[in-house]
Amino acid sequence: MTIQLTHFSAAFVFALFASVVFGITHRDTTREMVRYGLYCFAMFLGGALVAGWAMWLVRR
């Protein structure tokens, strides 16, 4: 069984799961875990989007 993800959906899935693990392992309380997980998710996905647009600008 194979699966074909687009580049963005692959980045989304990666950011989601990595953020969950980072949140759980890097903070002590539940509230801090959720906040840090959301922060990591935003940074992962935001970083990918910014890098994508930066490469688009460089290519022009």
């Binding site: 692959a10 799961f17 990595a18 693990v21 759980i24 392992t25 002590d28």
Partner: protein, 140 residues
Amino acid sequence: MANSTPVKTKPAAVAAQPASMMAVIAPAVGWLIPGAGHIIQKRWIRGALLLLSIGSLFVLGLMMQGHIYKANGGDILDILGFIGDLGAGGMYILTLALNGGQGAIAFAIADYGTKFMIVAGLLNFIAVADAYHIAIGKKP
């Protein structure tokens, strides 16, 4: 006058703690099954989320026809890939046993799959360290 200087003792916080059996079992079980190190210490939700996240990354990597590295001792990048894959523990052993993870170079997304599996293993290393910290009482 020989013993006039005060003897310095270690603070209670840095005193050596007795090694418990859980400090050995939790990381070992957590390596074999992602999240199990947390589950056996009654951190049910954390363990379930770790299992779901790391397991999903690894399985998605396989489904994207990613390549799994073996201990061949060749190229340095292959060795690093092997170390990352090895972190997935039981999933890595099972995949090797079932002859999976052959990899497909025909399309680019397979390379993402390879990276997904490596990252799943590396994230499991972090989860194992976290399970150990819980076992020794360093983390709630």
